[in-house]
Symmetry: C2
Subunit: 228 residues, 2 copies
């Protein structure tokens, strides 16, 4: 897979959190668009990453440590931190360099692909971010300490962030489902993306690396988002 920035370092999957795959290849199929709003469809690929509580940051990086910003994300409330952790599962394998997303949250959560979870030996469910009750845990290792996270390892459910005008354009509402059709080398329709609406959000599809690699979305010739 070539990269968007055209540099070889961008190929380093585990070193990157979110790669912007597609911007404006299509504006989707509108169901009305009465306001003249033309959405800018962005598909971003979430590589493995984690969210941490400040308490867990204290354990992993030292008491009072503050995450530092590497890069602001497309939804600009969040950032990719310079800091990373290692994730360990029951097969005694390690995935180093798992990017932390800031700012800190009220719960710690690790988001992996199924490829990652099979490698680690953790049987993870598909969950909406934040819905971690009853999910498996893992061992996290930082430069100053390690901890057993009792739960919170999930595969994030494919979803699309939307503002109100985007919802209007596509004829959908919060928690509806949409399909993402990816044309190109490995044509694929990812079905059932969950709509998440918030007045502050920009239109952005989030898929994980398994979904991105299955569909070769970074080389797509056309991407279309439609109501399911």
């Amino acid at each position: 897979m070539s990269t968007l920035a055209g540099t070889t370092i961008d190929r380093a999957q585990i070193e990157r959190l979110v790669r912007q795959a597609l911007t404006g290849l299509t504006n989707g199929h509108g169901h009305g668009a009465p306001s003249g709003h033309t959405p800018n469809l962005v598909v971003n690929i979430s590589a493995r990453h984690c969210h941490l509580t400040q308490e867990d940051v204290d354990i992993l990086f030292g008491k009072g440590y503050q995450l530092t910003e590497l890069k602001r994300l497309y939804q600009s409330t969040d950032f990719a931190a310079n800091e990373t952790v290692a994730v360990v599962g029951p097969r005694q394998r390690i995935i180093p360099g798992v990017r932390i997303l800031g700012p800190c949250r009220k719960f710690s959560q690790v988001e992996l692909s199924f490829t990652d979870s099979i490698s680690l030996g953790i049987d993870i469910p598909v969950r909406l971010s934040g819905d971690i009750e009853g999910t498996p845990g893992c061992l996290l290792i930082g430069p100053k300490g390690s901890l057993v996270m009792p739960q919170g390892v999930i595969r994030a459910e494919r979803h699309v962030h939307m503002g109100p005008k985007d919802c209007e354009y596509y004829g959908v509402k919060h928690l509806d489902r949409m399909n993402l059709r990816i044309e190109g080398n490995c044509p694929t329709t990812l079905e059932g993306l969950l709509v998440r609406m918030n007045p502050d959000w920009k239109l952005e599809v989030h898929i994980d690396t398994d979904e991105a690699n299955a569909s070769d979305v970074t080389h797509a010739t056309k991407v279309t988002l439609v109501k399911a």
Copy 2:
């Protein structure tokens, strides 16, 4: 992902070549079926593997070494060998334990997922098995030697093996395209599967681990194969 055999060792992706994911969850949508033939739809997941010439086996395992059979594949002309190699790419990373498929062929070829190829730093094309002209190479390491394979690293194009009665049932012919709809946790339609017909073949879809993990095919509730 749970496993088919229900044992934890089956989760070891790199230790397994082909996991039989689905048998008979559906018999697809026929386009006629005049003969009364009811196909048994099998979807198998091809994990990373390689085919080698005897000459390359000689270099990697010692002069005159003969591959030994671990397990016969569903298309019973081929077998998973006990022997594995390590694959190395330009990022100085290694994937150990890549299964060899026997018997030896007239060309050496390594089949990886995009997840694998990104990790190794090899920019691989999607190709039909055997179509390796102009593809990138890699370094192979065996117990008795190593070699630079000048070309032959590909992502295998998703495809379906069929016998003549299967083609008749689905209303397709050799080199037609089909779609595989996977319903369940991560609903996905993998489009454009290439039909490969041979009188000796059993009906069998081959997808790779990226496609299997994106769609969570091992937990699918229904799988349907239809003409594209």
